[in-house]
Each structure stands twice: as C-alpha cells, then as structure tokens.
Amino acid sequence: MKHVITLNVNGDPYTVAVNPSQTLNEVLRENLNLTGVKFGCGEGDCGACTVMVDGRAVSSCLSLAVEMEGKQILTAEGLAPTGETLHPIQEAFIEKGAIQCGFCTCGMEMAALNLLTKNPSPTENEIREGIAGNLCRCTGYTKIVEAIGAAGEKMRESSERKTS
C-alpha cells in the first residue's frame, strides 16, 4: 500500500508515492535523482548518505520516507545558492584538497554544515568529533578537518558582514 507524501527538498516541493518501508535515501536517489546522496552501508555506520532534516544531520538510509512529510530536507545539491556560486563549505573542500574519491564528500559537507550551524567557531577536536560518524578511506581526514575550519571562518566573516 503506497502513501502519497509531499517532501520539501532543497526548497522545492516533490509529491511522491512511497512504500511504508522505503527509506529517505531510496526516495532521494531513486525518485528524485539526487544522487549526490550516497548509499555506502545502509546501516548508518558510514555517513555517506547524510542529509539535513529540519536543520539536523541524519542518516538518510535509516530514515523512513513516510516520516518526512512537511519536513525541510537539504542535500549537497541544495547547498549552493545557484549553479554558479558555491557554498563556503564546498569552496573550502575544493581549495584545501579535501576531496579524493569523493564518495564521502557530500555526506561530509552535510556533517560540516550541521556542526558549523551549531558551533560557528569549532576547535580542531570539535571538528573531528563533528565528523566522527562519517568515514573516509582516502584522505585520513586531515584536509577535511582543515577545510571545515576554513569554511567556518568564511561563514563567520560573511555573517559578520551581514550583521554589521
């Protein structure tokens, strides 16, 4: 028995019919073609499928789609305001060399956003703690941690500019 639900993803409404057992990951990837959301383990261990739901990072592979009605979902595809400009987190990941195979990247960016929203100037340890649920096999995390630090700085600067 399918349920028709409306999801708000990256600011846009999508109406989809889903099985009660379908995960948010499956709907984002299969129905909405948002394939920046990865499927690395299906058990919430690797973090490659991380998305933001109502401002909180969640493993999309562990979240049921039917529970997402009316919630605000953000994926890496919605991180940049337009196709031409990038989000400071994305910019920093590119500049610092934090990307190798790229399979963990979008999930890492979401974990970074989650962290920086709650803690705009994290220490190195806080950054490491903030991404401890996201595995990477290529980078040893060094450049990812640097990139998140740099992104935090950029985001602070731009929010200071806005408030001043």
């Binding site: 990837r29 073609n33 948002l34 394939t35 920046g36 959301v37 990865k38 499927f39 690395g40 383990c41 299906g42 058990e43 261990d45 690797c46 490659a48 994926t75 890496a76 595809e77 991180l79 940049a80 990038l86 994305q90 990941f93 590119i94 500049e95 610092k96 060399g97 990307i99 190798q100 195979c101 790229g102 399979f103 963990c104 990247t105 979008c106 960016e109 340890n125 950054i127 490491r128 703690e129 991404i131 401890a132 649920g133 996201n134 595995l135 990477c136 096999r137 290529c138 980078t139 040893g140 995390y141 060094t142 450049k143 990812i144 941690v145």
Partner: protein, 764 residues
C-alpha cells in the same frame, strides 16, 4: 631542480567541483530506461559439491526476467595472469563446486530489487558439504581436502629467487637472527560498494559501466568470458569511490550484468551491499613469513633467507602477483649481498585475498622492519643507525630486478630522526611512552606482463586546436587518487597551456587509445605521464617546425612552449600564440587536424619496475598498561617520490595511507569462524575515524627520477607500508611487547606485560 609553472603547484583537482556539488556520477547513480536490477545468490557453505540447482520457482516469480547459474554460461575461466592459463581458476558463477562462504552460485535480474531479492530465496540448491581448510598449515598437510582438481597440493604458485650464497653468508656472520611473523587479512573498505551496469546495443555489442581500476583488463576478460571480440565490448569507468587494489579483476557482477543484458535485451545493474563486500569481498593476504638474516658485528647485513606462505583463499585472484612481488619487497630497502626467497600461494576455503595497497609489501616489510629493530637491539645499535648502515643508495643494483636510479632513503632516515627528536626520546623515554621507526620502498609500476597485453602499457592521444586548447584522451583510470589531474598538469606544463585549456576524456575503452593496464602498482603518474609527454613531444615538433618556417629561422634554434606561446628559446617576441601555431600546421596540412599519439612501455628495466620510491616514518605512542590500549601521539614521515606533481594530492595520499596503516596495525581485522567472516559491517570492522587520527608531519625528499615524467615517481602506495612496523617498534619501546603477529591488540599487550609490571587492578 627544474623550474615548473604548473607541475609542483597547488592545482585543485579536475573533478573537485563535481564531487563537492553532488553532480559527479558514480556507477550506481546511473539509470537507464527499462533497466533491470540484479542480485547474486551466494554459497552458505565453505566447501561443497553442487548436486543440483532448481531455479524454476524463482523464474516463475512475476517480475523476474532472467535467472542464470554456472550451467548457463560459457565455460571460460578467467584471471589476470593470461600468460599462464593454468592460473586462471575462476568461473563467473560456480560450476559443480563452491569453495568459500559467499562464492557466487546464481544470479537473478528482475524489474525491481525486492523482487530480485525474493527470487534468490526461491532458488533451491542441493549441496554435499565437503571438509574445508582454513589456514595455510592445514591446507598443505598431506591428505588435506583439495580445492581445485588441477592443483592437488593446494599450492597454486611457487616463486623462487636466489642470488649469492646465503648459507655461506650465515656461516660467516657474527650474528644470525631468525623469526616467524604472521599478518592478518584486512579490507580495502572503499566507501563505494562495487557496482556495474551493462547495456547491449542492436548489433549485439556490450557497453559496461563499472566501478573498476582496470578498464582494459575488464574489456579483455569480459570479451573472453562472453566469447565475444574485444572490440565488441566497451568499458566505461564512471567516477569511482576508491579501489585500493580491490577493484582490479573481472568480477561476477560485471560478467552477469553483461551476460544478462544480452539475454534480456534490457540494461542490467548490480550493486553490492556493504555486507556482501565484507562477507565475500577481496582482502589483503594473510601471510606466514619466516625470515633469517645474518649480520657482521658492525651491523652489516650478509644475507637473507625469506620464506612466505600466502593464504590466498579460494581462488588465485591477484595472489600470483602478490607472491612474486613479496619476494622482491623482501630484498628491497637494504643491501643483501645474498638472498633466497621462496613464496608459496596456498588455497584455503576463505574469500580470496588479492591486491591491496602495497601488494605484498606491507606484509614483507613488516617482517623486514621488525626484524631490523630486533637486530639493532641485540647488536646494541640504534635502529636508525643500523638502517643507515645497510640502506640502499642511488645506483645500487638488485640482482635480476633493476638498478635503483634515484634513492633518497638515507636522507629520509636522517630527516625523520631529526624531526621526531629521535635521539633524545630514545635516550630518555617517558613512562608509558615509546618511539619507533618503520621504512618502505615501493615500485613505480610493474614492468612485468603476465596479462600478456599486445599493446603499450600506457597510451595517450593529444588533439590540439587553433583556439589554443587541447584534448587529452587516455585510458588511465582515476579512482580518486587524482591521476586525471596529474596527467593534465604534465600536459599543460609540456605544452605551455593552462589547466582550463585542456579537456580530458579518460577510461572509456572505445574512445581512448589502446591501452592501459590500469591503476595499480603505483603505475599511472610515471607510465601515463610518460605516454602523455611522448604525445606532447610529437605535437611540439610540428609546432616548432611551423614557427621556424614562419619566421625563416636558422635551423639551430631550439624552441619552447610557454604561457600559451610557441617561440624560439629566449626570444618570446619571435613567436606565435599556441593557437596560431596550431592553425599554421593545420593550414600546411590542408585542414588535417593536429593529433598525436604517445606511448610508454618500460623496456630494459628488468622484470619488476622502472623506478623505486623510498621513505621512513617515526611513530610515538603512549600505552595504557592497565587497558593495553595504544594511543598514537604523532607520526613524522619523510618520503622520496621524485618530483611532486601535485603537492596537495601527494600529501593527501600520505595522510590517507596513515589511516590505512593505523587500522592495519591496531584496529582492523576480519574475525573469522572457520570460513565465515563474522564482522560484516563498519561497526564491527573498525577503521579509524577522524577522532582516531593522530597529528602528523611530513617532508618530501625531492629527487629527480630520470625515468619518470618531469622527474616523478611513485607516491602514496608505498606509504601504506611503514606505519605498522613503526607502531610495533614504538609499542615495544613503551612496553617490552614485541609484536610478531599483527594486529597489535590490547589483549596481546596485556598478556605480554609481566604481571608484576601491571597495575593491580589489571591482575585478577
């Protein structure tokens, strides 16, 4: 050192923007109209004869479009050692017998994944269970169960190396050290599970998108197993989420998606689950290593006897190459006037081991390095001093292997000693703390040709245009390590163009020039870089001729391409823009496009590799004697990788290799119950996360490798080697526990510490 404009500079990766924005397409992201979903039925038994398989109920399930077993496919075995067909021991689906838990028995393609999954449960397989063997000692005992009829001894490869007189060397030694080491299996644990999708066109040709390190090898082996011509099979490598050696053979799902796409006329996709990856996936070889080394009183090595049993699991996979290379790695790093190696690759009823970052070296060099540290202690020498005394240097010859053209090993040793404050920390150790060293040497690509390719090892096509741009086509496989960016840098440097002037098309066997043996053995920067330079030289010869004619210059002039211009050396004013020069050549040839092909095959470079990398790493640890938990405080690394093409990429390789080495040393292992892998998820298979990573300092020792493109050689694979021996030696200096069997676990440390040394609470 040469001055470069783009090589050696911080250039962002070619694909970074696509990956940062989620637009990079990996295999499982691809959807084709009418696509079917495939699933694989795997053996629940470690060793059994298949009596019968009844697929009728599965085939009758609505939505199921195709069910196949080993009886339905061409009986063609495959394996990467085509030169020795006996070693090709694998069918895409089991025929008559299964040999490990997870061995592929049947495949289903259906309209959706749930139906495919349900169909698997409807396949009835009748097995007769056979006794299994789960370690190398049991496997080579007389009367042990035999895995493959062609191989009654269970020893599938036996490799020997001998030079000098080892026995005489031991007789003349002042000190002879003999040890046995064992090392365990670990997972590649790439984040992207294996995936492939095939489509059959109206002419019956196959296109396969697959997550692979070796498009050309897949093309050849898929063609042979489908009984098709190679040119009728096209392999496209989309973005790949890591490989580390785990994606370098033809695998069942690649065959099945192609075979079933042909049978059904519809595209078929297979994607493995993480559980399948851990349960049945390839892994690093567990090994048992016997090593005997002789020394003179002053520490000079006289000879080495090295005998290794590789636990290969149920099939050869890349085991023959690992066996071969293990023997070579045993004789690298230090000068061995005499050397004897015997390596045996042994079948067991476990998931096949294969290539994994270091390809036999993490195991061989763990033994070498641990034994060097033991010997230093017994000879009363400093471990670094003993290493410097015996270190290989530029110009050394390894008999039957190669001449080492560049070697920054001694500089690396001296550098890490200085960076880590080695002498002070060894002389005055703090309670619970220890410092240790591990070293490595690695190959820059394999010179051997067991795949028996009839093409060059690497190829490049360069097309240039009168708008001042170029298009580079190469079969080289970027699997995350960044070779697309590195070869673009090399081409941009050579043609004097900017990165954004170059378009790249890579790893599509129907579009890019034949051939490339793939991303393994650290071959791409050197091999593919050389092919790119070879093509660029041919383009430049044409451009220089045209500019020379245009300005009516004396024939003695040399030319260069720089900053988007082509001009006589020292006279940038007497030149043309790159685009104008291309246009001139094109006009002279009445419109014919200017295209050149470049190739590289190592010739007269021995049987192993054209160039060697070297490095040394120091680890400092603190061991909690109550819990046995090892806390690595810091790493210091100095490595010689020749010219650094892309500094961030090279650093990234090092940082990633430390994560893998740390896991290998301390936390990662497959827990086996006989033939069954028990830890099949990331919670139970503990690879280091961001909080587990210690700080690290690194120095590149720059050499200029004459065989490499612009002086470059291997970076990043060899670095996975030194971490485990460095930690092991540091743990020894902190606790007195000498690890001879990886991994180093709290349990082993606590058992080794004398009870009186342990705090009371730990002694029950």
């Amino acid at each position: 050192m040469k001055k470069f404009s783009i090589v050696g500079k911080h250039v962002p990766r070619n694909d970074a923007r696509a990956k940062a924005t989620g637009t990079a397409v990996y295999t499982d992201d691809i959807k084709l109209p009418g696509m079917l979903h495939g699933r694989i039925l795997r053996s629940p038994l470690a060793h059994a004869r298949i009596v019968s398989i009844d697929t009728s109920k599965a085939a009758a399930l609505p939505g199921v479009k195709c069910v196949i077993t080993g009886q339905d496919i061409p009986k063609v075995k495959y394996g990467n050692w085509r030169l020795f067909p006996d070693t090709q021991d694998e069918y895409a689906l089991a025929v008559d017998k299964v040999r490990f838990i997870g061995d592929e028995v049947a495949a289903v393609a259906a309209v959706d994944l749930d139906i495919a999954e349900e169909a698997l449960s409807l396949i009835d397989v009748e097995y007769v269970e056979l006794p299994g063997v789960f370690d190398v000692d049991a496997s080579i005992k007389e009367g042990a169960p035999v895995l493959h009829d062609y191989c009654p001894t269970n020893i599938s490869v036996n490799r020997k190396i001998h030079y000098g007189d080892v026995e005489k060397a031991f007789a003349e030694s002042d000190y002879v050290r003999e040890d046995i080491f064992t090392v365990h299996a670990v997972s590649h644990a790439y984040l992207e599970p294996c995936s492939s999708i095939a489509q059959c066109d109206l002419d019956g040709r196959i296109t396969l998108w697959t997550s692979t390190q070796v498009p050309y090898i897949i093309q050849c082996l898929l063609a042979s197993t489908l009984e098709m011509r190679e040119n009728d099979v096209r392999i496209i490598k989309p973005f790949v989420g890591g490989g580390f050696g785990g994606k370098m053979e033809l695998r069942t799902w690649e065959f099945c998606s192609a075979f079933m796409a042909k049978k059904t006329g519809k595209p078929v996709k297979f994607t493995l689950s993480r559980e399948e990856e851990f349960l049945a996936g390839r892994r690093r070889h567990p090994m048992k290593l016997y090593s005997k080394v002789g020394f003179k009183k002053d520490g000079t090595i006289t000879g080495k006897d090295f005998r290794v049993h590789l636990d290969g699991g149920a099939y050869n996979a890349m085991g023959p190459t690992a066996t071969f290379l293990c023997g070579n790695f045993g004789a690298m790093l230090y000068r061995y006037p005499s050397y004897s190696f015997q390596g045996e690759h042994i079948y067991t009823n476990k998931p096949p081991a294969s290539a994994m970052r270091g390809f036999g070296a993490p195991q061989a060099i763990f033994a070498t390095e641990t034994q060097m540290s033991i010997a230093a202690e017994e000879l009363g020498m400093d471990p670094i001093e003993l290493r410097i005394k015996n270190a290989q240097v530029s110009g050394d010859k390894i008999p039957g292997v190669a001449t080492i053209s560049t070697c920054g090993f001694i500089e690396a040793l001296e550098k890490v000693a200085q960076m880590s404050d080695w002498k002070e920390k060894r002389a005055n150790p703090k309670e619970g703390r220890g410092i240790g060293i591990g070293c490595y040497s690695f190959i820059s690509g394999g010179a051997f040709n067991w795949f028996n390719t009839q093409y060059p090892y690497s190829a490049a096509e360069v097309r240039v245009f009168d708008d001042g741009t170029a298009h580079l086509l190469t079969m080289a496989a970027d699997i995350g390590q960044g070779c697309d960016t590195a070869v673009k840098q090399i081409l941009a440097e050579s043609l004097g163009l900017k990165m954004e002037d170059i378009r790249i098309t890579s790893a599509d066997t129907a579009m890019t020039p034949q051939a490339d043996l793939g991303a393994w053995g650290s071959r791409l920067t050197l091999f593919n870089g050389n092919a790119v330079l070879n093509a660029a030289e041919k383009i430049k010869a044409k451009l220089f001729g045209a500019v020379s004619a245009r300005f009516n210059l004396n024939v003695i002039h040399e030319f260069e391409c720089k900053d988007g211009k082509v001009y006589p050396k020292g006279r940038p004013d007497r030149g043309l823009t790159f685009g104008e020069a291309v246009g001139l050549v094109q006009k002279a040839n009445r419109g014919e496009p200017l295209i050149a092909h470049g190739y590289y095959t190592p010739r007269d470079k021995g049987l192993v590799t054209p160039a060697f990398s070297f490095g040394a790493q120091v680890a400092e640890v603190e061991v909690d004697k109550k819990t046995g938990i090892v806390d690595v405080k810091k790493f210091w690394t100095a490595h010689d990788c020749g010219t650094v093409i892309n500094p961030r990429a090279a650093e990234g390789q090092l940082e990633g290799s430390i994560q893998m080495g740390l896991g290998y040393a301390l936390s990662e292992q497959f827990i086996m119950d006989g033939g069954k892998t028990l830890n099949t998820n990331f919670l139970d298979y503990k690879m280091p996360n961001a909080m587990d990573m210690p700080p690290s300092e690194v120095v590149h020792i720059e050499t200029y490798e004459p065989e490499g493109p612009m002086g470059a050689k291997e970076a990043g694979e060899g670095l996975a080697i030194p971490t485990a021996p460095a930690i092991a030696e540091a743990v020894f200096s902190a606790t007195g526990y000498r690890c001879r069997d990886l991994p180093i676990t709290p349990e082993k440390i606590l058992n080794a510490i004398e009870p009186r040394e342990r705090p009371k609470s730990a002694v029950k």
